[in-house]
Amino acid sequence: MLAKRIIPCLDIKDGKTVKGTNFENLRNAGDPVELGKLYSDQGADELTFLDITASFEGRKTFTDMVKKVAANISIPFTVGGGINELKDVERLLSAGADKVSINSSAIKNPQLIEDIAKNFGQQVCVVAIDAKESNGIWKCYLNGGRVETDKTLFDWAHEANERGAGEILFTSMNHDGVKEGYANEALARLSDILSIPLIASGGAGCMEDFYDTFNEGKADAALAASVFHFGEIKIPELKEYLCSRNINVRI
């Protein structure tokens, strides 16, 4: 049976992980390769690396990091941040990334989804959506949640699916950082309208939140950052817990 996936997300700036970590046994917790490898050894099912640098130099450093990750880690990984055109995709895939995640650039130029799917295969293209609910309406946001658009979550997710996205990664801006659980109602509605896998993001605070998002939210995978980085939740314990509650996970 297909397992539900647990995906730690690492924010990268100038080739280093940004958020602090509590891993005492790591020589250099700022080294994405070492941290990624630790997660992989602990049983993470995939990894996501988001480049939050804006400069050209930063992009080059990120590409070098992707090469090191690919050389050292034997599980799939997705990279995102600053992907605007096909040649960015090509650069990251040839550096060894398995998938790319696009967000603002897909909203600005939806054709990019089709182009990625056609050139590199549907499974490569993860469409990430940041959305916020206000008065019952979920609006999509650009540029890391700074700019509101007129696109609504459910319409845009459906459109991305139709255009050839391989997965949808939905981050609820209402839930992100609050640590009181994922946006399960919206996730369940998304899961119902999508024919492709759905990754839940934003809101993980305790192990039960993961159970709820797989159960109520009907998510296929759950992504989280700080609960893992600060050691509040350890992946082996999380998987044991999910297994004991009859969620199929890889142990």
Binding site: A3, S74, I75, P76, G96, D192, R250
Partner: protein, 196 residues
């Protein structure tokens, strides 16, 4: 030991190369007929769209070369599908090493998403590739098309229906999953292939 990776427009060539390097093997990535024929082991990777990839193989003359190889060959993912007779994807004729057709997953219920993406277990293991496997192991899959269970099936996986996770005929081995992305389990499978 000389290991060659078939060089063509497949997406996962470098992932396979990296995985072999982690096992201490320096493979040669090549489209050269002589080099492929003289290698001890050949890996035929594959990520992409069936029709485009098959057309490319034919243009380079690699279709004949692969079929005629006598040493152990391992096809991976689309590589395995291309080794079959026919693919529904792009209405494509394959290499015909395995006399079976590749079909598209059709979900029975909505929660069965396509592509089949993520970690799933393999069972009914019949092959040297899975030597030493004592419990149900998870491997990583990403695909929208599948090879039905047939006489060449060397391992099965269930998603929507039971299908071939691995095929074997003579010197031809293949996996639908990605051993190069399947952590320690994948490394064992690659090592078993190298040990053949």
């Amino acid at each position: 030991m000389k290991v060659a990776i078939v060089k063509y427009n497949a997406g996962n060539i470098y992932s396979v190369d990296y995985a072999l390097k982690r096992l201490g093997v320096d493979a040669e990535i090549t489209a050269d007929k002589e080099k492929l024929m003289s290698a001890d082991k050949v890996i035929f990777p594959g990520v992409g769209e069936a029709k485009t990839t098959m057309d490319h193989l034919k243009q380079c003359g690699l279709d004949r070369v692969i079929k005629d190889l006598k040493q152990p060959l391992l096809g991976v993912c689309l590589g395995m599908q291309l080794m079959c007779n026919y693919m529904e994807e792009g209405d494509t004729t394959g290499l015909g090493i395995f006399d079976v057709s590749v079909k598209r997953f059709i979900p029975n219920i909505h929660i069965e998403k396509v592509p089949h993406m993520g970690w799933n277990t393999i069972f009914d293991l019949k092959d040297e590739l899975f030597k030493g496997f004592t419990k149900e192991e998870f491997v990583y899959f990403v695909h929208s098309y599948y090879v039905p269970v047939n006489e060449f099936t060397a391992a099965k996986t269930e998603y929507i229906i039971p299908f071939s996770a691995s095929l074997h005929r003579d010197n031809f081995y293949a996996t639908q999953f990605h051993p190069e992305k399947s952590g320690k389990t994948g490394e064992k499978i690659l090592q078993n292939f190298l040990n053949l």
